[in-house]
Structure formats: C-alpha cells, structure tokens
C-alpha cells in the first residue's frame, strides 16, 4: 500500500485531477419539463451524473390514516438504475437509498408550503441513470425544479452542492476519484440560498472544526452558483422557448461567480 504512487489531489497551480479549481463545479446541464405524464419534471446532468426527477401531486393521501390534516406529505424516492454504477446494482432499493430518500424529502419539505395542501401527498421520484459522486445532491437539485415545474408553492428553490476534503484540501463537488482519497470527507449540503438556511447536511470522515468552517462557506457559494443555473433553466422553460438542450458550461460560469464573490 505504502508503495502505491501517491495521488496529488491539487497540483501546484491549484488544479484538481480533472483540471478544476478547488471551488469550481463540474459542467451542469438542466432541462425542466421532460416527462409529459408528470405534473412537473426535470432532467439534470452534473458531470457524469444523470438524473430524472418527476413530481406527481398534490393528490389525495391514501390510505386515509396516513394523511396529515395539517399539510401535505412529501414522499421522496431516490433510486439508482441497476446500470448506473460500476457493479450492477440489485434493482430493489437498499438501505442507502432509503436513507437518502428520507433526508432529501425532509430537506424539500422545509421549502414547500405544505400547509396549503392538507391531507395530500406530493410524490417526488428521482432516478439516477448514471453516477459519479454527488448523486443525492444532483437528485435533490433536480427535484426542487420539478416541484417548481409542478406549480407547487415554495419558500425558495432548494439548491445543493457537495463539499469535502481530499488530500488535505477542501474542495467543492468531489468526483468519485476524489471521494476515494484515503482522507476523504464527503459533505452533502443543501440550502435555500436566499436565506442560507441549511435544509440537508450530512458528513462522514474525520474533519477538524476549522476545516468545517472553510467547507461550509465554499459549499454555500457552490449552492448559490447552482441556484443561478436553476433559475436559468426555469426561465427557458417558462419563457416558452422550444427547449432542446440547455448546456451550461459551468467552467466559464463559475469564473464569473468567483469575481462576484
């Protein structure tokens, strides 16, 4: 093990393994309104990650004893296609998918005016067709737009961004390769950018308080970049343009963001 060539996660010129800078996101494409049958939907590519999110509802909550008279249930289903990972995944949902569904649904619920829809269900389906680190955040980001597309009133769009550590560096939007670093720490983060409220936050690994302080600021900045892309995708859909494909080269986008901050 000690003999393996050590990987340099950020080189002297500040470049990561894929050429990005520490605070730079991978290329992202977003298209709102892709599933004709759904009340709202979104297709999102984030690096190699490919996600389709669809929303059905609000609709009557059945069976009735699971209805909430104070507001809508938000049922979030995060699932990975069998071919979306390196080893074929068993099609049945695993414990990881169930946990991600739970925390993602709770994150969205924090942004939805659920009280306007008592005794209903809002079903949010997120399917991952290709993956390379960061799928839960890609899914949540797409799901947030599918909710807007479905006309569900929200206190703000939920925007997510992973931040973490690899090779001693704090980095946004880790790739699979970076997540496999021996000291890797992965911090999925989602906020309502307008208020900086944290609605999803998870973390595993060994992280010092000072590292967290730096990471959370980079993560929030990343979420704000995502928000701009989300808004752009929504305006394309709702200005009635015939949307074919929305390619946002994030590398140039993110440079602009850097200047703004």
């Amino acid at each position: 093990m000690g003999k393996e060539k050590e990987i340099v996660y950020v080189d002297k010129s500040g470049k990561r393994l894929d050429g990005r800078k520490a605070d730079e996101l991978r290329p992202i494409k977003i298209k709102v309104g892709v599933v004709p049958n759904a009340d709202g939907s979104c297709y999102l590519e984030w690096g190699y990650n490919k996600v389709v999110a669809a929303v059905y509802g609000p609709k009557e909550a059945l069976p009735k004893h699971r209805a909430d008279p104070y507001g809508a249930n938000v049922n979030y289903y995060y699932r990975m296609a069998s071919f979306s990972v390196s080893d074929r995944k068993n099609p049945r949902p695993g414990r990881r998918e169930i946990e991600i569904s739970k925390v993602s649904g709770e994150a969205l619920k924090a942004a939805i005016f659920t009280e306007q829809f008592p005794n209903t269900n809002i079903d949010v389906y997120v399917e991952i067709f290709d993956s390379n680190a960061g799928t839960r955040i890609a899914g949540l980001t797409a799901a947030s737009l599918a909710l807007v597309d479905a006309g569900i009133p929200m206190r703000g769009i939920v925007a997510g961004c992973t931040v973490g550590k690899a090779g001693g560096h704090i980095l946004v939007d880790l790739t699979k390769e970076e997540e496999d670093a021996p000291d890797a720490v992965d911090i999925p983060l989602a906020i309502i950018p307008e208020t900086e409220e944290i609605v999803l936050l998870q973390m595993d690994g060994l992280l010092k308080k000072e590292e967290w302080d730096k990471a959370v600021q980079m993560g929030i900045a990343g979420c704000k970049q995502i928000l701009e892309l989300q808004k752009k995708a929504l305006s394309k859909k709702f200005e009635g343009f015939p949307v074919q494909e929305i390619a946002s080269d994030l590398r140039s986008e993110s440079k602009k963001e850097e200047i703004k901050e």
């Binding site: 669809a54 390196s86 399917e127 390379n132």
Partner: protein
Amino acid sequence: MQNIIWELESDKIRKTVLENKRLDERAFDEYRPIELTTNISHNADGSCQVKLGKTEVMVGVKSVLGTPYPDKQNEGSISVNMEFLPIASPEFEYGPPSSESIETARVVDRGLREAKALDFTKLCIIEGEKIWVVFLDIYTLNQDGNLFDASSIGCLKALSEAKLPKLDENNVIIPYEYDKKLELKRHPLLSTFVKIGNSVLVDPTLGEEKASSARFSIATTEDDYITAFQKGGKASGSFSVQEIDQCIETAFKRAKELRKKFFGKK
C-alpha cells in the same frame, strides 16, 4: 376520476376507429416516430434511450460473471428485467414487479433468446465454470402505450452497442475497461397490434390500448423468421387467423424498415 377520463377517451377513440381513423391521424398500419439515443450511461456496458411518440424507455446493459446452467455448460446467458418507474405514469408504483412488467420483460427476453440473436457460446469464459450473464434492464420514463415495441428495439440497440468488460489474468472484471463488442447474429424486432372494434392498429398509444379489446405482438427477423407471438389484453377480445395473417405481414414490413434505419440492414 382518472378512470372516467379514460372512459371518455376510449369512447372517442372507438368512434374515430369506426370512421377508419386514429386520433393522431396515423394510418392503422403506421408507427409513431422513433428516436434512439445510445451511450446514455458511462457506467453501463451499453445503453439506449428510446422515444416512441411520447413513450420513453431507458435500457442499460451490464454483464456480470456467473456459472453456467448444468445443461448448458458452454453457454452464457441473458436476463431481461423491466421496472415500471412511477416517474412514467400515475398508474405505476414501486414494489414487486407487476404482471404487466414481467410479461413485457419475458416477451423481450424470449424474443432475443429463442431467436438466437446472440451466439451464447461466445458468452462462455471457461466451460462448465464461468460465463457472462448479460443483464438488460429496462426503465420506463413516460408511458404512452406500446412499451413492448419500445423495449424490444431499445434492448436490441443497447445490446448492439454493448461491449463485454475486460478481464484480468484471474478472470476478474477490470472496471471501465472493455473487450470486444457483443455480436448480434439476428435482429428480431417486435411489432404490437391492438384490436378496436373490428380494426387492427399497429403501435397503439396508451389511449388505444385502453380502448382496445385485445393485443397481439409478433417478432420477426431479417432472415424471414417469425420468432415470437404473444396474445394478451385485459378486455374480452380475440383474433381470427386472418387478422393474425394481416398482423404478420405488417410486422415483417415494419421490422425491415426499423432494421434499415437503426441497424444498417438493407
């Protein structure tokens, strides 16, 4: 509510068919436009997205190592599975596969297997010990009828694009490295029909499926074989021998066009 809407839609479709027309103005033997996009997942060994009108499915291929069946020591195997994702329709839900999704997967599976579309002996790594099991997983993205044909062409295209993973000297898969392409010996394609009143329509929309009394599917190959029949349908319908002959003719014609367009077959 949903049901009432479909009832009204069905009435309308049946009346239109009585006038020898379809709601979307197609001829009875006319398919909807088809689009195929390949290589949609870098983790899959081969993949294909199919749009058939507003119907949409995703197909991915993953080959995994397995052991041969006792009676087929020198042959690999395929396994077709289908998930009716609730993304695609308010009528779909998670849980154990429905009989509809099982039927679709099995008809596609047999269509490939029994037509000997692949040379299964080429999926054998060590006779009696190690083989490739080629998984084909179909996911619905939008349900507007005729998932049979969308799945059939999607699987065939994904297979035709798929490569086998590379193995190291211990016959362990090397991730993201690939060996030769899978070679297709035949290109069986399914054509599905429904019966509405006394008319037989190819490539039904969801509305047409719901308005129909019976369903019939036929797979055909470039070397003039019929390789699969499947009669079904939830209502009290049946087909005459003459109707089936008419379907066979259309199926051969249509499959030929699709093979030319998507598989470069003359």
